[in-house]
Amino acid sequence: MRLQGKVAVVTGGAQGIGRAIALGLGREGAGVVVADLQADKAKNVVDELYGLGAEGHPVTVDVANEAAVERLAKETFDRFGKVDILVNDAGVYLKAMVVGMSEELWDRTLNVNLGGNFLCSRAFIPSMRKQKSGRIISIASGIAHYGAKEFAPYAASKAAIIGFVKALAREVGADGITANAICPGAANTTMPRSHRSEEEVMARLRSNPLGHVLEPEDFVGPVLFLASAAASYITGQAININCGSYMI
């Protein structure tokens, strides 16, 4: 187990990729704070963590809410006394064309997806600096590079996360903290189903050079690698996990 004795916070940890990552971190020995807007689902993931023999703690949080993120940090330190790994996965995926889009939809997307990265990083970095080590892993998206019709705010927020992580890597590197992003390709989650038929979704998910339908579990390995000691010299990077659907 590569993460024995480590403490991780996973925002958006109640479902999909965030849940898979939370469980993966637990399997490697980390204690995991499952932070999510959905209290019941977060609690379920914590139960699963205990089922794996790992420790967990659920926190209900809107990562776009400053006070709520401060409470998340406090609960994390009260429960586990420290934080080693922050996984910024919480995000919203709201559909609208740019022309006619409400300001609210734009703000909500940017506040949660990008602002959540800022607020959570700001909340946890001071203690990482004190211990001279830490891992920040933000979940961006292939859509940051590729774009997606009717998801301009999502694309903008995910591309912005990559820029944020690169800048953050340069700010915190001297204290032994790395900051990286992963860019998942389209995966078999509820996300793409919000606006397409089941048949269309599966055909699209399969249409990559490797012909594989990505599942949430497929992104866990690279995250564990980035969280582990093996990746201590990798920072400021965006890792594309997309079965070769694009290459940059």
Binding site: L210, P222, A230, A231
Partner: protein, 246 residues
Amino acid sequence: MSQVALITGGGGGIGGAVARRMAAAGITVMVADYDHAAAEKVSAEIAAAGKKAEAFAVDVTQARDVKTLVADVEKRFGRIDVLANIAGGSFYTQRIEEFTWAEWKEVIDVNLKGTFLMCREVAPVMQRQKSGRILNTASNYGVTGSALRTPYSAAKAGIIAFTKTLAQELAPDGILVNTVAPGPTDTPRVMGKESAEERNRRWSQIPLGRTGQPEDLAEAYYFFTTVESAWITGQTFHVNGGLVTP
């Protein structure tokens, strides 16, 4: 059965570390190098640690050499699961007008043509297996360029595009092809050129505050042999302490 990895430049700083890392994980490593004595040394170290390794001499710029090497390995082990193309180098630091045609070709051939020749020979073996991992080696200079290293920067950029193309060609056979791009790394060859102080001053801008160790690179190459990287192909993986964040 143990996996088999073929590592070119396996007698060098990064190549040797990669060979040791993979061997430690139970992979049988073929250490191939232009400098046969260097390959022997690495393979002997690995064998002394109780792991499996063999040394080979190869000039990756010579198609016949490459063919012989790959045929040898295939005959002995019947498979090649991992190919790590690490043989390379910048060799010269000089202005473009000082480069002779022969020097230019030397740098392009060792880095880029050698990668091509090795991939051309090993890919059919992996296609028959319907599995395999190819790891090519670029450099942050392949993205940023580097004054006084025109052929090296061009060759490394070439490797990145070559990798993407090969990844597309081999994906239907379940073969993954990725590039590892090392930043400044403390290898004996590089450190021989400048003092530790010069080196530290030169690279004081690295966000993580230190130059890379061959072992840092070895972990990244090893990652690409594991199931954890099963869905990554055609990508460039920068290991540089945050110096370059393309």
